[in-house]
Amino acid sequence: MAVTKDEVRYIASLAKLYFSEEELAAMTSEMDSLVDFANTLSALDTGGLPPMAHVQPLANVFRSDGAHQDFPTEKALANAPESAENCFVVPKVVE
């Protein structure tokens, strides 16, 4: 098996996902077959080609630095699970 349980645990911590021990075992075996599937790419000779992140010839798109009306605060906060005093409320971060 190419993918280990420890690796999956580490990736899960990066992705902010929690898996129980049982789920972790299942995810490890799934990830293993997915990575195996992805490995078929290694047979492709890509030579010295540069990676193409995007199909378009992307360039910076500038706009004029003008004032415009965006959402009012109450609208931006309307979907927040918790808000107070025009702010999103999060658990205490610093002691």
Binding site: V3, E7, V8, I11, A12, L14, A15, K16, L17, Y18, F19, M27, E30, M31, S33, L34, V35, F37, A38, N39, T40, L41, S42, L44, T46, L49, P50, P51, M52, A53, H54, V55, Q56, L58, V61, R63, F71, K75, A76, A78, N79, A80, P81, E82, F88, V90, P91, V93
Partner: protein, 494 residues
């Protein structure tokens, strides 16, 4: 008036000449949804009162324009369904995910504003695979959608609700989104016509992002002509989407009647092994039909296509893992009730809010992007993309467009593709198009021996939507596959 037999353009014509009103059209759809959706399960949100109110408003504006002798938009008064990953101001937009089950967008997507500007009537929100990740709509967190041709089979995905609604004549038109085939594959499974436009022709502003370099919104309809009309309504540059092309667009609808014999290439990679013989036969029959219509048929090879599936799943999952990091339980969406720390808030919210397929993709994407594997997977996939783009460019020196199956088999049964990779392989004919940013159209090409629709795909160079639609339109004048309606046979529990 039996509206279900009418195309979108015929409904618009009848509204324009006063035979019916936009309210009649909306009512007919709402009635049909009420009557048939307990069997189909296409819709997540329909607000009858609000729809009728907006239809009345549209009707008033139509009458006002007519009384001043002004022209109407081509689809004025026509009802349209919207996939539930497209933001609608004040109307719940869930992406069929628990994590967005309570999300009411504070703004509408550009495409939704364009529907309104074109005096169309949004009917409601359509079911899908969670965050558009899937090929069967089985990954919706809320409900199954059943294939109107056989209730024991999936409608395809991820725009399964959109395709099933059009196929069962609940709506003449629907919007879907296509990241790796999510418009074309369900269109093929449900016997309707669906267009994945050139990347950058339709604004993605307000489309909940899955794979940003791949996603494109497009129309699903009963015919190529209806698709052309809806594509005309939604395309165009948008300053809110920096990847939308700033260029002049001609009317594609007016091009659809302008069929000229072309050279059609058939990639050998999409014939033979792995493709159901009946589907290969449908491609051959369509090629013969195009031949009768004066087209030249050539066989060609794009060897790079063989690598498109792994490249697609790496690129799309990497982009998804990055895009879906925004779901953190703070600004919108679901938040866990058990919080000890900020990290705990993130992790529990996401673990409780996302379904298994979404987690799988986030994990694969995070794996492909993480230090140590980045070059081996993500960068390698991006190089494969460059090669694939070259492969298509080469093919388009030999042919004006490519003809292939949309899917290797007709619609499969619920639970049939239980492991992830066998589900991913259902996308073999569609993903390459998104990697290269090209336009592609799926249209009905016949029926299997057990009565299921089979879809054919036309792929063209960038901005060739008019060409693809004109060919499919000419094909639809010679065939009646797109006119057949499902009987709703089969058993949901089958």
């Amino acid at each position: 008036m039996d509206l279900e037999k009418f195309s979108a353009l015929a409904i618009a014509e009848n509204i324009k000449n006063g035979a019916i009103t936009a309210v009649d059209a909306a009512k007919a759809c709402l009635d049909r949804i009420e009557q048939t959706d307990p069997q189909i399960g296409a819709w997540l949100t329909v607000d009858r009162g609000a729809v009728l109110e907006s239809a009345q408003d549209v009707q008033n504006r139509i009458e006002e324009l007519l009384s001043r002798g002004q022209p109407l938009p081509a689809l004025a008064g026509v009802p349209v369904g919207i996939k539930d990953n497209i933001c609608t101001e004040g109307v719940k937009t869930t992406c069929a995910s628990r994590i967005l089950s309570n999300f009411v967008p504070p703004y509408s997507a550009t495409v939704v504003k364009k529907l309104e500007d074109n005096l169309m009537v949004p009917l409601g929100k359509l079911n899908m695979d969670e965050f558009a990740m899937g090929s069967s709509t089985e990954h919706s967190a809320f409900q199954k959608t059943y294939n109107p041709w056989d209730l024991g089979r999936v409608p395809g995905g991820s725009s399964g609700g959109s395709a099933a609604a059009v196929a069962s004549r609940q709506a003449p038109l629907a919007l879907g989104s296509d990241t790796g085939g999510s418009i074309r594959q369900p269109s093929a499974f449900c016997g309707v016509t669906g267009l994945k436009p050139t990347y950058g022709t339709v604004s993605r502003y307000g489309l909940v992002a899955f794979g940003s370099s791949l996603d494109q919104i497009g129309p699903i309809a009963q015919s190529a002509a209806d698709c052309a009309a809806l594509f005309d309504a939604i395309k165009g540059h948008d300053k809110n989407d920096s990847t939308s092309y700033d260029r002049a667009y001609a009317s594609v609808l007016s091009e659809t009647d302008d069929f000229r014999p072309r050279t059609i290439g058939i990639p050998v990679q999409y014939t033979g092994e792995g493709i159901a013989p009946e589907i290969t036969k449908a491609v051959e029959d369509a090629a013969a039909q195009f031949g009768i219509m004066g087209c030249k048929i050539v066989e060609l090879s794009i060897p790079e296509l063989e690598y498109s599936l792994p490249a697609y799943y790496i690129i799309s999952s990497a982009e998804a893992s990055s895009n879906l990091s925004r779901f953190d339980g703070i600004r919108y969406g679901y938040r866990t009730e058990h919080i000890d720390s900020l990290d705990d808030l993130y992790t529990r919210t996401r673990s409780e809010g996302f379904g298994p397929e979404v987690k799988r993709r986030i994990m694969l994407g995070a794996y492909a992007l993480c230090a140590g594997y980045y070059d081996e997977y993500y960068n390698k996939a991006l190089k494969a993309r460059a090669l694939l783009k070259q492969g298509f460019a080469r093919a388009f020196t030999e042919a004006d467009m490519l003809l292939s199956p949309t899917t290797p088999t007709p619609a499969f049964r619920f639970g049939e593709k239980a492991d992830a990779i066998s589900m991913y392989k259902a996308d073999i004919c569609t993903v390459s198009v998104n990697i290269a940013g090209l336009p592609a159209l799926s249209f009905p090409g016949g029926f299997s021996s057990d009565g299921m629709p089979m879809g054919l795909q036309l792929v063209g160079p960038e901005f060739s939507e008019g060409l693809l639609l004109s060919c499919a339109h000419a094909f639809q004048k010679k065939t009646d596959y797109h006119l057949r309606a499902p009987s709703g046979r089969g058993d949901q529990s089958a």
